[in-house]
Symmetry: D2
Subunit: 338 residues, 4 copies
Amino acid sequence: MGTIKVAINGFGTIGKRVADAVDAQDDMEVVGVTKTGPSFGCELAIKKGFPLYCTFDDKERISLFEKKGYGCSGGLSDLLSIADVVGAENLEKYRSAGVKYIFQGGEKHNLTGLSYTSSANHMENLNAEGTRVVSCNTTGLSRTLVPLFEHCGSLKVECTMVRRAADPGDSGKGPINAIKTVLKVPSHHGPDVMTVKPEIEINSLAVAVPTTIMHVHCIIADLPKGHGLSTESIIEMWSNTPRVIIMNGADDRIPTTAEVMEMARDIGRKWGDLHEIFVWEDGVKLVGDRLYYFQAIHQESDVIPENVDCIRALMGVEEDWRKSAEKTDSAISTYYST
Amino acid sequence: MGTIKVAINGFGTIGKRVADAVDAQDDMEVVGVTKTGPSFGCELAIKKGFPLYCTFDDKERISLFEKKGYGCSGGLSDLLSIADVVGAENLEKYRSAGVKYIFQGGEKHNLTGLSYTSSANHMENLNAEGTRVVSCNTTGLSRTLVPLFEHCGSLKVECTMVRRAADPGDSGKGPINAIKTVLKVPSHHGPDVMTVKPEIEINSLAVAVPTTIMHVHCIIADLPKGHGLSTESIIEMWSNTPRVIIMNGADDRIPTTAEVMEMARDIGRKWGDLHEIFVWEDGVKLVGDRLYYFQAIHQESDVIPENVDCIRALMGVEEDWRKSAEKTDSAISTYYST
Amino acid sequence: MGTIKVAINGFGTIGKRVADAVDAQDDMEVVGVTKTGPSFGCELAIKKGFPLYCTFDDKERISLFEKKGYGCSGGLSDLLSIADVVGAENLEKYRSAGVKYIFQGGEKHNLTGLSYTSSANHMENLNAEGTRVVSCNTTGLSRTLVPLFEHCGSLKVECTMVRRAADPGDSGKGPINAIKTVLKVPSHHGPDVMTVKPEIEINSLAVAVPTTIMHVHCIIADLPKGHGLSTESIIEMWSNTPRVIIMNGADDRIPTTAEVMEMARDIGRKWGDLHEIFVWEDGVKLVGDRLYYFQAIHQESDVIPENVDCIRALMGVEEDWRKSAEKTDSAISTYYST
Amino acid sequence: MGTIKVAINGFGTIGKRVADAVDAQDDMEVVGVTKTGPSFGCELAIKKGFPLYCTFDDKERISLFEKKGYGCSGGLSDLLSIADVVGAENLEKYRSAGVKYIFQGGEKHNLTGLSYTSSANHMENLNAEGTRVVSCNTTGLSRTLVPLFEHCGSLKVECTMVRRAADPGDSGKGPINAIKTVLKVPSHHGPDVMTVKPEIEINSLAVAVPTTIMHVHCIIADLPKGHGLSTESIIEMWSNTPRVIIMNGADDRIPTTAEVMEMARDIGRKWGDLHEIFVWEDGVKLVGDRLYYFQAIHQESDVIPENVDCIRALMGVEEDWRKSAEKTDSAISTYYST
């Protein structure tokens, strides 16, 4: 099979990151990205050499790009006619044109009837027509809960999500000095894990707090009798899990999400992204059969490598999620090797 | 019995509030407050007519007050010689002088071997030589959990504490834009409830967030089989519990702690205090036998009425905590009737 | 003349405070306050004993109050028929009904053609039909600049306004972690001083920052040659100016607006208000003929005593603004004497 | 002349960035970086292929690196023996060893008697033994003021610095919800410009606010009579000035520093850095001879290209600062071309 041709419909927060990650792979290429009109994002696309398309097929809108000096290769239909897979960001008006499609976690599971996250259900998505890569939070929960579940055979989880209230580039939202409770109880976050791993019983509560960097999950998981795990063996398990980073808050001087993000900026991926889930080693504790731990989620980027794996699942080119993950992560790492 | 003579050793964040609350009662009076030296707090004491003493017996230090124009009635020993009860704030060097003593939640239970919160164990503290009024968080948890426990006979609780990182008047502390995980797991907050109600099984996790107003508790309580409660009857129970306020986040437009504090400022107590625990009605939900709810705690003030009740317990003048609470709260309410 | 009858049309952030301040005076009384419908604010009005009216004359709307259990004395017309003066908050649809009117600083000067602040132009407002009490920022600038101008005879001022981005009870607004520049240059804030004291030449720049408490003004004032002032004599001048508080940031440990607000809460006015402008003594410096200083403004409350003085101006009962200010402030101080 | 050999003594916030920028140039190379002991920063150095040295010559300390698995090439003396220039971060104990030295803006001008910023005084630093690259704020002020000064021949400036209170990776510092006034008036920031361009008359006031991203300068500059400039021609001048970016807050939807930083992350330099000074086009306004404008400064990175130019100045290899700047910036841009 030749190179997989990927279209990105919506070159925004997630789309621009997925495009970069696809560009880093040797078995796929970005055949085009769409924008609704000429704006700063077009410069990014052109600098990267991604062909630029208009989100609409309307000729007048397409001509606006040229007027602003951005070469535009056509409308969405033109792009779809040359693509194998299309990744779409929160876009309900998308309609299939014989290309496979990937929606993002902002959409509901019902839209596709199928959801995806690498460690949970790669095989179930093999050769499917389309799917939904779950949200940053669901992805993060799956990363640490799925290996636990696979060891234990059952799992009952409660998670309190302490969410950042706004993205770093979003200055309009508050609160400046308050804690907001999400009054839909339980919140939708935890149960969404069941769209990719229905056997995990999970609920959640959520609050939003005045920070722009990372969500924090405070997790309580009840393991079944006879699980045979200890605090140390659980830490060891996660150390061997792809896309989970474990560091020691005290020894490594990483007391808060600020220091986690600073460490990520040192790693050197674009936008200071951290694709991995961050677990504080000294915050993991098994008390009887009840496990307590904290993890931090980089909202804008943890789902990016999942999107690449998902393309391979839909195209049926790699059955083993761990092999796909290794290929994806290694390519991304080389790409940002400056 | 005559009026109970109360000394306040330490006229700081808690001390100044306890003094006001004692002053509001008709069965007790403030016979003196201490300061380590002349400062802005002295003006407060003098304006209120509270006799001012020096925290030390050192004559030179006492004379410093006079030099700054503040009348000083003597040292700590002088104050203790005329007091029945002394309330002390985080003060380890305190030593009894034949007066009953109350420590605050910053101290450990071990210091006194006895702790107090009105709804949990008023009777156990009756006529005791001294005790510790538990912290703002423990007080808050007791307010809603004790009535649940008394109904159910047993209770198993997990609480995620989302803590404000600094007091409103404290500009030195951060973080400005991050979430800090408390890596001692479980945290000390939940288990402290067992110093006043050992039958409640409880653990907790804690994070600190960049806000200066109110802690939020995200609580999961497992009720025993056959509890006979519903979401509605639990709300009804708390509506009838002293010092618990239940309002509807959606209908009353109180989505965050900012609006809770604004409502408190409208009530008109000094410092904009809210002695009550605030529970969001639409955030309470019983799912099977598992109860979820959120509550907000005004760190600086929820323990204030508890201190007044505690004085009555130590002096043995009122056996029924509900009667004491009603007397205390009614006097405070009248005091701030402007 | 009898007691001045004051109506408050709009019992919101400013209205509820003006009502309290009027209630504290012995030469005026609150004859009614309006609300658009039954809500938490009604409880406040009733608790204070202020007759409650509906903002509209619509009978159906009026009946809604009764349904919620709030006694309602009628519509706006009914209220106006018994009032001498009406204070209105940001209300463009107000129309005179033979009562004198006071608009707030959210309105433009053009609406009334006349503006008011106690120290600048009390006499010009004497017996006028209506006026506008200038905004919190303009009031604050007038407090310190007018006495300087009166001494010097001319003044050229630049002010950089560092504004809080949201009110303490407003959780919707951001930014959480950014500085917003107000790109209308110069901003409207400084020049508004010229509506009450046209002889002061003044411009301003403004930025909004992620705090909910107090604006800070960074002021540069060029004094004319031969002004005869020193840093010390300017501090002395402001010490003798009504509604200006001067404290030392280093000695009094008030490095930021957080500590200023905490000091205000200690004073004990409702809502933790600070009617006075706060000037840092150690931040005042005259370099040649150029004066630098910082001042902090409590946005919600500094205009409150100005509204009371303004009522006396419109009713023509007190010609001397200093006498009115003394009467107003002394009454407020007694009112909140708890 | 061969490749310039650059040592970086102190591989922290500034050091790690200077090392990257030097590495990007074809006329210089990083011969070593120092760390005080083995820590996360060592991994960064090793990943980049920078030889690692110990800040001290102490053999025991040096051996600690090996124990943690980091190859260490020796102590500071060893590094200095092979270097032409050494860049040091806030390090007072540095002593010359026959190599040229560059201190950073945290040091005082007195330490070196000479300071540097590219546009102001490149030539004066030619072949000097050592110098100080001025702070982020002074660099930022010089970028926009020096071209204005060169056009006008004289300039009188007032700047109000609205400073971020903590770095993004620093969670310890506050304030969370307050504005801090810098009570040393005038502040040291503005006058420091005179260490590189003594002819510019400048003073400043400063406040710190609860944000971790970018300082904002609110600038008022009085131009001399007959300057012949207009708002438009000043914008044009800055558009042609190296390392100044002008964008329109309204049209480009960049209302705050949050959106400026997001734009910088899109550009794709490591750590999301923005070496350029950001000026809001619609915030520039000439009123008579008084110019108002706002600019935003990325504290951690604006001095980085200046350090590279400074190396060329000290080594005497390029007399024209504009040519050096072009070479520096072009190399950095290629380096981060992912």
